[in-house]
């Protein structure tokens, strides 16, 4: 039970007035970010990251991760009340959440979604508490080939598990890697893909890509839809909350299943969005009232919200234990670690226990505080959405520009951000996934380093990736993931005959 005592030490770190204040600020900002179109978890955290450069790392990560929790909660508000998913992972919540609001059960839907978000997150945090140290300890034995095979697994699962065209996933990912290669080569010091422009030497920071792809791209998309907000008003009565809470235990099976789906999808980089859809689909198939789904079934809110939060939270496990983020937002947080001078990866648990356990403790407290804040302040946050788009849109563009500029104090970055905005808009409309692009951009350099180190060890022999049980197993799993669509089709055929 070393973990428990370490966790309590973490609580002691978090429970300072300054950190608690940052936590509250983070959650409120996060909910606002989640509610506003065009600002989401990933780019919200990216924009605010430069403001935390001067803070101690532990306080900074507490604030930023709380923004993330807040954004996860905030997405549900707009889905239920306005039928506009504030975040991609809350799309599935609109299917039943909005019909419930139309029937005058908005309070019930919101309570159910917030509570299940909380349960999903709690489940994932408990898992992180006990599993992450083990994974980290295990990963201490990793050498470059093992790390590369884990990166390979990450990227192969994207291709195999993705919904759309595998070729498009591959293209988006390789574009990310190519962008990551711009600038100085870490090992030989030669300039790559700069084409003689000295400004390009710095490379393309993934924060700029995140702000452009998700921020500007989203604004362009919402503009196209012409945005007419027509929301249901909502106030959550304490009585409704209690009544809903009484109802919830009946759906424990759905919750548990969604937690497991969420955790699985979060650790393997499926992410919160597919997790929520998958959980909704399975709940619909398994439920007795499956045919009532889509017409305001409370289970249809519980399932996607639980899974989305479980996935969003457990995406931090591989980030903490291995230094491999499970989602774009986790990738941004990882970028933060690097900027604050911390080396993410298994050693973090040994070298900076205060930081790691402070973060884990803040996950417990942050989600609890988040639940209380959203339950009490829904009308306030819903009011934000009533601010007309023609005020919100330019302000968000300005905020994005500032966010992009402050990363390196470079004007070129603002231009790059606009370019990424257009790319994000086009890619989203053509179903090129953005998450693999961002992850490849973040992990590109490190994946390349581990690949080159492995090649140096083996003198260019690819068989090093199968040289022992561990690395061979991970590489094998990666290949299975890569060809999963074909394998599952084959299996289905075998079973069918």
């Amino acid at each position: 039970m070393v973990e428990i005592s370490a966790l309590f030490h973490g609580f002691a770190v978090v429970l300072s007035p300054f950190n608690l204040l940052l936590m509250l600020i983070g959650i409120v900002l996060g909910v606002i970010i989640g509610v506003l179109p065009g600002l989401g978890g990933a780019n919200g955290v990216a924009i605010l990251l430069p403001l935390t450069f001067t803070m101690p790392p532990t306080s900074a990560i507490i604030m930023l991760s709380c923004i993330y929790w807040g954004a996860l909660f905030g997405g549900a508000i707009t889905s239920v009340l306005f039928n506009i998913p504030g975040e991609p992972w809350s799309v599935a919540t609109t299917f039943d959440g909005y019909p419930m609001a139309q029937q005058g059960r908005a309070g019930e839907a919101l309570t159910a979604s917030f509570t299940s978000s909380f349960i999903g997150a709690l489940f994932a945090v408990i898992m992180i508490t006990f599993l992450a140290p083990l994974v980290a300890k295990f990963a201490l034995k990793f050498g470059p080939p093992e790390f590369f095979s884990v990166y390979l697994l990450t990227f192969c699962s994207f291709i195999g598990m993705g919904k759309g065209s595998a070729w498009k996933t591959l293209a988006a990912m390789m574009l990310g890697f190519a962008l990551a290669a711009i600038g100085m080569d870490n090992i030989t010091g030669r300039l790559r893909l700069t084409f003689g422009f000295s400004e390009m030497m710095r490379g393309v920071d993934f924060l700029i890509a995140v702000i452009g792809l998700f921020g500007i791209g989203e604004i362009l998309l919402s503009m196209e839809e012409g945005l007419a907000f027509s929301g249901k008003s909502a106030k959550i009565d304490p009585k409704v909350v209690l009544e809903t809470w009484k109802k919830l235990p009946r759906y424990w099976m759905t919750s548990l299943r969604s937690c497991l789906i969420g955790c699985w999808m979060g650790i393997t980089p499926g992410g919160a969005t597919p997790a929520s859809f998958m959980s909704y689909g399975i709940a619909k198939r398994m439920s007795k009232d499956g045919d009532k789904f889509g017409k305001g079934q409370i289970e249809g809110v519980i399932a996607p919200e639980t899974a989305a939060h479980a996935a969003g939270t457990s995406a931090l496990l591989p980030m903490l234990a291995l230094g491999i983020p499970g989602s774009p937002t986790a990738a941004v947080l990882l970028g933060g670690l690097l900027i604050w001078g911390l080396q993410p990866g298994p050693l973090l648990f040994v070298e900076k226990p205060d930081f790691v356990w402070g973060l884990i403790a803040s996950m417990y407290l942050g989600n609890l505080a988040g639940l209380i804040i959203v339950l009490t302040c829904v009308p306030l946050f819903a009011a934000i959405l009533r601010v007309p788009f023609s005020i919100i849109a330019p302000v968000i563009v300005v905020i994005c520009a500032i966010g992009a500029y402050t990363v390196h104090n470079a004007m070129l970055d603002i231009w790059l951000m606009m370019l990424f905005g257009v790319v994000g808009y086009v890619f989203k409309k053509l179903d090129y996934p953005l998450a693999p692009l961002v992850l490849a951009l973040v992990l590109g350099d490190r994946a390349e380093d581990s690949f080159r180190q492995s090649m140096l060890i083996s003198q260019g022999d690819m068989r090093i990736f199968f040289s022992n049980g561990l690395v061979g197993g991970i590489t094998g799993l990666a290949l299975v993931m890569l060809f999963w669509p074909m394998l599952s089709k084959g299996l289905a055929k075998v079973r069918g005959t």
């Binding site: 430069p50 574009l175 190519a178 030669r190 849109a393 563009v397 300005v398 053509l430 260019g460």
Partner: protein, 180 residues
């Protein structure tokens, strides 16, 4: 009125066209990556893999993926030709009306970034927000300007004074008299 009708009508860029354009652009990017990696040396040097070793394969894979996407677009087209059962309208990437709305945000944003380059973050932001509200939101000048100045002033206090993060002042700094 004509414009609104065309927004609802069929006019626009088809998804197919856009798919082809994007795949070709990606193909061009992959060619750039491959050529540059080849220039740097994509083979095995005296001291291990050369600088272009890894990016070379990245570029290659990007090229393969774009060609595959292109091939799929054309295959789909020929299949559609065979099956005349479901002709339907060509799936649309964006209608002209929608495109106009999108450009009405994108073009001012680009002008805004140019403004930042010339006159600095604060001046450009205030002007941008005010004009955006006036043109697209049809607010009165008084309301537009007051909100614009309010937002920009808040940002100024937040960044320059509280967090001490200086923002871009532009080639012609109009706010130099503030001393920041």
């Amino acid at each position: 009125m004509d414009e609104q009708e065309s927004a609802a009508g069929d006019g626009g860029i088809s998804t197919r066209t856009m798919e082809i354009v994007v795949a070709l652009v990606l193909l061009a990017v992959s060619a750039l990556v491959v050529i540059d990696s080849y220039r740097l040396g994509s083979k095995w040097g005296d001291d291990g893999p050369q600088s272009g070793y890894f990016p070379f394969y990245i570029g290659l894979l990007l090229g393969i993926a774009s060609v595959a996407t292109l091939a799929r677009v054309f295959l789909k087209q020929s299949r559609r030709g065979e099956k005349l059962a479901a002709p339907g309208p060509e799936p649309q990437f964006v209608g002209w009306g929608q495109l106009k709305l999108v450009l009405s945000v994108l073009l001012p944003a680009i002008v805004y970034v140019l403004g930042v380059q010339l006159f600095g973050m604060y001046v450009a932001s205030a002007v941008y927000i005010a004009i955006f509200m006036r043109w697209l939101g049809h607010y009165s000048w008084v309301k537009s300007v007051s909100i614009a100045v309010g937002v920009t002033a808040t940002i100024f206090v937040l960044f320059e004074i509280w967090f001490k993060v200086p923002l871009f002042k532009g080639a012609y700094d109009a706010l130099a008299w503030l001393g920041y």
